[in-house]
């Protein structure tokens, strides 16, 4: 009980600091103080998460040492690699770094959903649907951000287009939704693996196919959109994890990211539907 209070309060402090940091970051004078405050919030909440080790389910207790070891190693590897990449990369290639780190966040949300879908066979229908929707958005954000990174980094030089692409993408989207429904429906039975695995594959492919036809000049707007997507996925996964801090941080980023996307598109004299569904911006790509 005591542990739950501590972890819950750490989440409260962190989400407060995030909102304050985001507010401070929207003015040039206080921007640096804002990111520092948000950074302390993140440090605090990650440290407090380790208190949850006193509170794990009995089934997982035999694996405790292995799981903690894996968690610490993954934390160190991920932060060291990203910190090294972020410090050493050229200032001009910052946008693609934002894209790749955003994709990692989306992938983390999708992986979290995958762990939940692997382990739990008794999730009620509503949280289950929320988890699957979060997984869909997270997967799109992951593969889409990776394609955006490849485009900005000059690894994919030309927009990839063919006739009937829009119809193909629409069909792929419909197929992904059907697979998502099948995943939810057949979840209680042991034969749920196939639609679930196909669903994750289709969602990743959808992100790739959505991003490929969009020109390089529109990439910053698109990265901002995927940023909002990841926030939304994080918020939805926070519901299944029973963690209001995740829900608040994710949804704040989701809505502010959507507004930011609209503002950026407006600053470039483009509308969002133009960016997503027309090939007008190809001159820069």
């Amino acid at each position: 009980m005591f542990v739950e209070y501590c972890v819950g309060l750490s989440g409260l402090v962190a989400s407060g600091l995030f909102i304050y940091g985001l507010k401070a970051m929207s003015s040039p004078v206080t921007a640096v103080a804002g990111i520092v405050a948000a950074g302390y919030g993140m440090l605090f909440v990650v440290a407090a998460t380790f208190l949850n080790l006193f509170n794990i389910t009995p089934e997982a207790r035999p694996n405790l040492l292995v799981n903690v070891g894996l968690g610490v190693v993954a934390l160190l590897l991920g932060s060291l690699w990203a910190g090294w990449r972020g410090r050493t990369v050229q200032m001009t290639s910052m946008p693609q770094m934002v894209a790749i780190f955003n994709g990692m966040g989306g992938g983390s949300a999708a992986a979290l959903a995958a762990v939940e879908l692997l382990g739990n066979h008794d999730i009620p229908l509503l949280p289950l649907s929320v988890t699957v929707i979060g997984a869909l958005i997270g997967c799109i954000s992951l593969s889409g951000s990776l394609i955006a990174w490849a485009k900005l980094d000059g690894r994919i030089r030309k927009p990839f287009r063919f006739s009937g692409q829009r119809a193909f993408n629409a069909a792929l989207f419909a197929a992904t939704v059907v697979l998502a429904v099948l995943t939810v429906m057949r979840y209680a039975t042991p034969s749920a693996e196939l639609p679930r695995d196909l669903f994750f594959g289709a969602a990743l492919l959808l992100g790739v196919c959505m991003t490929l036809p969009i020109g390089g000049a529109d990439m910053p707007v698109l990265i901002s959109l995927y940023n909002a997507f990841t926030g939304l996925a994080v918020g939805l996964e926070g519901y299944i994890m029973n963690d209001p801090a995740l829900m608040i941080a994710g949804m704040v980023v989701g809505s502010s990211g959507t507004l930011l996307t609209a503002l950026m598109a407006k600053a470039m004299n483009r509308s969002l539907t133009n960016v997503l569904f027309s090939n007008f911006g190809e001159t820069g790509g």
């Binding site: 794990i56 979290l112 801090a245």
Partner: protein, 118 residues
Amino acid sequence: MASVTSMTFVIALYIFMLAAFTGYVVISRVPSILHTPLMSGSNFIHGIIVIGALNALFNATSIAEQAIGFVGVFLGAGNVMGGYVVTDRMLAMFRPSQKAEPARPEQEKPGQEKQGQP
């Protein structure tokens, strides 16, 4: 296998609504010069997913769950650290105009010499 949510869906909707409104209001008057740093900063904030991934990994019971959980924590940690470092570097470009640490000695010395000479 982590604990399934005990929150009612309506309370979750309340939290989502309030958070979405907060995000909208907080951003609504940002100058366009801060669009990219702000995108990067909010990219850092959604890195909080790493604590969800950590909780899932702590409660993993099979090898598959451990493997996917490991990948999830790795990706989330990269999101956090990368997002912070990139935002910090972007905002460092705003610092010289306030504190002017590297620029001032070069600018002041000629000024002082001019004042001192006459």
